[in-house]
């Protein structure tokens, strides 16, 4: 008996790794390998069509911080653009969907219908919402200005070609587009909070605000961490909205950093620079995400 059991145990020891293997392979080939190759690329002047791909050391990185380099002003302008967008959109995308979720969590007639309505824009692709809003927001022909005019408000706001309006448009459209997704995540979190906690709070005489503050919010903490982290990352990846709606206007002030990286890599065929920018951006976002986790864990303690 004993030898058999030992064999089973020995064989069993490999089981978890066998189960992990398929994903591990995918991860190695499609996630880790590209990252390693990206680092390799970033140390070269790399146009895959040109025979000559000289090793340039950290030049591609130094260029990002050297004000005399050809990419410096474009890089920091686009990074600033993404930063502005993230700072404006993340608070709205964290708070508004929470309110929405709390409302949609109540029992009222037509609840399923409204849940579907708020989630609906999220199923549209960025090309669809981009073209749609570009024409709706057009300063001279758009429906938005027409409607504002009808109610006596200024009807000549340059929603997509002037600042700060272009940012307001981009943030507004993104909130309209993706708020439903965050709301669904919150909704799932809300349904995990036991009803007894609310009952107990009521018995203790807690007001609606106090129940929200001391029962709902603590109950949602892990969900909040998830929503804040993914929303920051999604906002930092801004590309399609500004590419289609404002087209970077005025000038290149609304060109996002991801857009600029794509342009470097694919339009200007400089994969080395594009890789250096991607890696620098990734490191910046990693710092933000780590800070994020720290803040939420601190509160938990």
């Amino acid at each position: 008996m004993a030898p058999t059991r030992a064999r089973v145990r020995r064989r069993g020891a490999a089981t978890p790794y066998l189960f992990l293997t398929p994903y591990l392979l995918l991860f190695l080939v499609f996630a880790l390998l590209p990252v390693v190759l990206g680092v390799w690329l970033s140390l070269h002047q790399w146009d895959f069509q040109l025979p000559n791909k000289p090793f340039v050391g950290v030049d591609n990185y130094r260029d990002l911080f050297d004000s005399n380099s050809v990419v410096y002003s474009f890089w920091w302008e686009s990074l600033g653009a993404t930063g502005i967008f993230t700072l404006l959109s993340v608070p709205l995308l964290v708070v508004l969907p929470l309110g929405l979720a709390v409302l949609l969590n109540r029992a009222f007639p037509g609840r399923t219908f409204f849940r579907a309505v708020f989630f609906a824009p999220y199923v549209l692709g960025v090309a669809v919402i981009g073209l749609l809003w570009r024409f709706l927001l057009d300063a001279n022909l758009g429906l938005v200005n027409r409607l504002l005019g009808l109610v006596g408000l200024p009807d000549d706001t340059a929603w997509v070609t002037d600042l700060p309006w272009a940012w307001i448009s981009l943030v507004g459209v993104t909130v309209w587009w993706t708020a439903g997704f965050n709301a669904v995540i919150y909704l799932a979190g809300l349904q995990d909070i036991p009803g007894e906690l609310y009952e107990a709070a009521k018995v203790d005489g807690a007001t609606a605000w106090q129940r929200f503050r001391h029962v709902t919010l603590p109950g949602l903490r892990p969900v909040l961490l998830f929503v804040v982290t993914t929303t920051i990352l999604a906002s930092a990846n801004l590309f399609g909205q500004s590419y289609l709606i404002t087209q970077g206007a005025p000038g290149t002030s609304t060109r996002s950093v991801v857009w600029y990286i794509v342009e470097q890599g694919i339009a200007q065929n400089d994969a080395g620079r594009a890789a250096a920018m991607s890696i620098t951006l990734t490191l910046m976002l990693a710092v933000v995400s780590v800070a994020n986790f720290r803040i939420f864990r601190y509160r938990e303690d």
Binding site: Q45, D47, F48, Q49, L50, P51, V70, S73, F74, R134, F135, L137, D138, A139, N140, L141, G142, D156, A158, V160, T161, D162, Q247, G248, A249, P250, G251, T252, I266, A267, Q268, N269, D270
Partner: protein, 448 residues
């Protein structure tokens, strides 16, 4: 129409070359087959495109003709396939943006097409990146010279003294006008403005009747292209002669851009015109004039209720000039070694289509080939024909690898000026500074 004569000419020439060509073609094919496809020096094979007598080959052709032009192109290819039993051309169409991004990868992995259609301003970049191969032998074997084409189009296909593209057509910027709105303003729609004085007078007359004359788009399509035309009209240029410096901050260029900005300032154009809004407004009767590409002719023909006409751009500056680009045929380099038969067949196809570009003109493009432009068949395409004179003074972008990114700096500067974000001079100065950095960077990269 000459069409009765032209096929006969072809027939004669084909018969004449057949006698010659069979011998020559086979000899060339044999020699090359012996070499085993040396891809370091992809060059002459066959007799340069007069005939193909080898075994049956399948050719792949890529293009970006996603509009109505795509259907016409496919019809031409079908016709070619029925006329040539031993060549079969298959066509794949992508959006131009995707197309240019996709082509290099496909070529380097050995999955590229045999023939690629390309805009003139892309030729140098793709030649420098060794994606397309020289075609000088096609030009010389077919006895194509500058005289057969407009000089501007013909010379645009040359990079480092070698020819990489055989021009198919050219598509300039044209001046579209609403005949109904002109009549309302008391203007003669049979005589659209041709110079600065007439153009400005027309705008004033329209304004007096509360009709919006122009929509000055701040975006490349189509405001930036209007600005590009005007810089050349005022005697300026985007680059110096040997394309080592950007010079679109010259007094002439700044004057041209200022003229565009003043249209907005003087109320001849609304401010903050959105992308495509100028053309939408024109079609909706909210704008009397629109400077737009020749490709809009077919679109406007689809709306019978729009009363319109088209003419060459009025001469606002000291000379005539108009933005233009051109579609060119190119032969792609093959990573796995060139197949001499395929290359020879590809050249036959390019020559055949170039000769049949009259049908292509119906797709809304001016044929590059002079004999086709002079044919009575082309004269009957009145709208497209009206823009043919622009061929003589068309301002094509220079043949310079990576030039697209550099020209973008002009469009960005133009955008800032028209939107009133920067004074025209300041906008152009800032743009030129960036353009020169990019030019130096490209020179280093491509070893120009």
């Amino acid at each position: 129409m000459n069409s009765e004569e032209r096929p006969k000419d072809n027939l004669i020439s084909r018969r004449r070359v057949l006698g010659l060509g069979v011998g020559l073609g086979t000899a060339a094919a044999l020699t090359l087959a012996g070499c085993g496809g040396d891809d370091d020096t992809p060059a002459a094979s066959g007799d340069g495109g007069k005939t193909y007598t080898g075994p049956k080959v399948d050719l792949n052709l890529w293009n970006g003709f996603t509009g109505g032009d795509g259907d016409i192109f496919k019809k031409l290819v079908d016709q070619f396939n029925t006329e040539h039993q031993n060549i079969k051309v298959g066509v794949a169409t992508y959006r131009w943006e995707d197309y240019y991004a996709k082509l290099p990868g496909a070529v380097s992995s050995g999955n590229g097409p045999d023939i690629a259609v390309m805009h003139m301003d892309q030729l140098a970049t793709f030649a420098a990146r060794q994606i397309i191969q020289p075609l000088d032998d096609v030009a010389s074997a077919l006895e194509l010279t500058e005289a057969d084409f407009a000089a501007t189009v013909w010379n645009g296909g040359i990079y480092k003294d070698k020819r990489y593209g055989i021009p198919l057509d050219m598509h300039p910027l044209g001046f579209y006008y609403r005949t109904d709105l002109m009549e309302q303003a008391g203007l003669d729609p049979a005589k659209p403005p041709t110079n600065r004085q007439e153009f400005e007078a027309a705008l004033t007359a329209l304004k007096a009747k509360n009709i919006q004359g122009f929509w000055m788009s701040p975006f490349q399509f189509t405001g930036g292209m209007a600005g590009y035309s005007l810089v050349h009209q005022f005697g300026g240029s985007l680059f110096n002669r040997d394309t080592t410096q950007a010079v679109y901050n010259s007094p002439e260029a700044v004057e041209a851009v200022t003229w565009c900005v003043d249209l907005v300032k003087n109320g001849h154009s609304p401010a903050n015109v959105g992308q495509d809004a100028d053309y939408v407004a024109f079609k909706a009767g909210k704008s009397a004039f629109n400077w737009n590409g020749i490709w809009q002719i077919n679109d406007l023909k689809k709306s019978p209720d729009v009363k319109w006409g088209v003419a060459p751009l009025p001469q606002i500056g000291s000379k005539q000039a108009a933005w233009a680009n051109s579609h060119n045929f190119t032969i792609v380099q093959q990573k796995r070694g060139a197949d001499a038969n395929k290359t020879a067949a590809a050249k036959v196809f390019i020559n055949w289509l170039s000769e049949h570009s009259l049908d292509w003109a119906a797709g809304g493009q001016v044929p590059a080939r002079k004999e086709v432009r002079d044919s009575s068949g082309f004269q009957q395409l009145t709208e497209v024909g009206k823009l043919a004179p622009e061929l003589d003074y068309a301002a094509f972008p220079p043949a310079l690898p990576g030039v697209g990114d550099v020209i973008t700096t002009f469009y960005t500067a133009f955008n800032e000026a028209v939107l009133g974000k920067k004074d025209p001079k300041k906008a152009m100065d800032d743009g030129v500074a960036k353009a020169n950095q990019l030019l130096a960077d490209n020179a280093k990269k491509y070893g120009a």
